[in-house]
């Protein structure tokens, strides 16, 4: 498993670590039932804070993505690996791809396209929170 954290980004480090581990499972670098490195190993290998690493594991456990067995370490959950989410991510990629291609065809650069995407996403979130408030 090749973990890489961008410490200076604005994205919380524990979230980055969670994403990386999920990604490793999705790509098959690590499979269901397999053991994850200990928190201490992660902290040492990435030279990062052990509490932050522990938080990532806690959140992953909470999501049911990993199972922490006391005394023997953390393991990727069987259903975590084969979760509907992985399929969902694949499906979303298929849906979004033509839209992105169209955007590029309109002459937008990659970063402009990303900004449009994020802008729309946040607008979507705003609308949904406004919706909730109205109800």
């Amino acid at each position: 498993m090749n973990l890489r954290i961008n410490f200076s980004s604005g994205v919380p480090i524990y979230q980055q670590l969670m994403e990386q581990i999920k990604h490793a499972v999705e790509t098959g670098a690590i499979r269901g039932g397999e053991q994850l490195p200990t928190i201490r190993k992660i902290a040492e290998k990435l030279t990062m804070n052990p509490n932050t690493a522990a938080r990532a594991y806690r959140e992953l456990e909470h999501e049911g993505f990993i199972e922490v067995r006391h005394g023997s370490g953390a393991f990727v959950a069987e259903r975590g690996a084969s979760s509907a989410k992985a399929a969902g991510i694949r499906r979303a990629g298929e849906v979004l791809r033509p839209a992105m291609e169209q955007g590029l065809a309109l002459g937008l650069s990659e970063s402009e396209l990303r900004r449009v995407f994020e802008d729309e996403l946040s607008r979507l979130q705003d609308d949904s929170t406004a919706e909730r408030r109205r109800n």
């Binding site: 410490f7 200076s8 604005g10 040492e44 509490n51 932050t52 802008d119 929170t129």
Partner: protein
């Protein structure tokens, strides 16, 4: 259990009438690595010296390991459980590495020979070499060794990596991360290097002009704070600064840049009502957080 290792409240200190610390509040929980940030003269070293009993506070309370530190005896009891690495890493010029260790050992009943040997080997410190002949990196390593081998529960450091090359800095960070992971040692250090703080700290405390301006779990701060960029047709409306959750507002031409925390979604909806042409919400890095808080408007 005393889970707050360092607790200070209402801490004030002035030098010749000039306030250096004003009503400082600080909490470092057990096992955390807390980065202490601020500009030069913000009061970082003063805070460390107050915690160690080198300076007397004008007012406020200090608790270390849950015990109040209000006399020399209580300060000594606390110092038995902690290690300190000063900024210039100066040790006695008339001692060798070995003599420095032999001198320090008897002060600490919990001294661990195994750690002493381990770090001597790891750092490859020349035992017979006189302290003034050591490089700054080696002196840092020796000070770390002295702090770690005593079995300290708390490590306080004043700019531990200042004057070290990048490789040596990485080694020091590695050791600190390892120490926190294996022994649960609480680490509190001041620094100018935002990158190293981001890398190994789970908590940060930013002080400016003797007061705490940001304090908390680094990842929570990153989730909590947002930069909101708004572009208007004309000059951005004045109401922006008064919106709830806005920490700082900067205007350049038709663009307004907000640093905000809390309910950012609500803030964005409120800002949208002011009719901007575009709204962009970005995550905030520690560097932005630091600069926005310590730079005067």
């Amino acid at each position: 259990m005393n889970d707050i290792i360092i607790a200070a409240d209402g801490l004030s200190k002035s030098y010749d009438g000039k306030p250096a610390l004003r009503n400082l509040r600080l909490e470092v929980p057990r096992g955390s690595i807390c980065g202490f940030l601020g500009r030069n003269g913000a009061g970082k070293t003063t805070t460390l010296k107050l915690l160690l009993g080198m300076l007397r506070r004008d007012s406020g309370v200090i608790r270390l390991f849950g015990e109040p530190v209000d006399s020399e005896a209580s300060s000594i009891a606390a110092r038995r459980r902690l290690g300190f690495v000063s900024e210039d890493k100066d040790l006695y010029p008339f001692m060798t590495v070995e003599q420095t260790i032999r001198f320090t050992r008897p002060f600490f009943p919990g001294w661990r020979r195994d750690l002493e040997e381990k770090y001597l080997d790891l750092f490859q410190l020349p035992r017979k070499k006189a302290v003034p002949k050591l490089s700054k990196g080696m002196r840092t390593q020796l000070m770390l060794l002295l702090a770690m081998a005593r079995g300290a529960e708390l490590l306080m450091m004043d700019e531990p990596t200042s004057g070290l090359d990048p490789a040596m800095t990485e080694d020091v960070l590695q050791i600190l991360a390892d120490l926190a992971a294996s022994d649960g040692t609480t680490i509190f250090f001041s620094s100018h290097q935002l990158a190293e703080v981001e890398q190994i700290c789970d908590r940060v405390c930013i002080i400016d002009k003797g007061q705490v301006v940001v304090d908390g779990v680094l990842d929570d701060l990153k989730s909590d704070y947002r930069r909101i960029l708004l572009v208007f047709e004309g000059t951005p409306p004045r109401e922006l600064a008064g919106l709830p959750g806005v920490d700082h507002l900067r205007q350049r031409g038709r663009t307004a840049s907000l640093l905000a925390h809390g309910d950012v979604d609500a803030l964005v909806s409120r800002a949208r009502e002011l009719g901007p042409g575009s709204v962009e919400v970005r995550p905030v890095t520690l560097k932005e957080l630091f600069l926005d808080h310590v730079r005067g408007e």
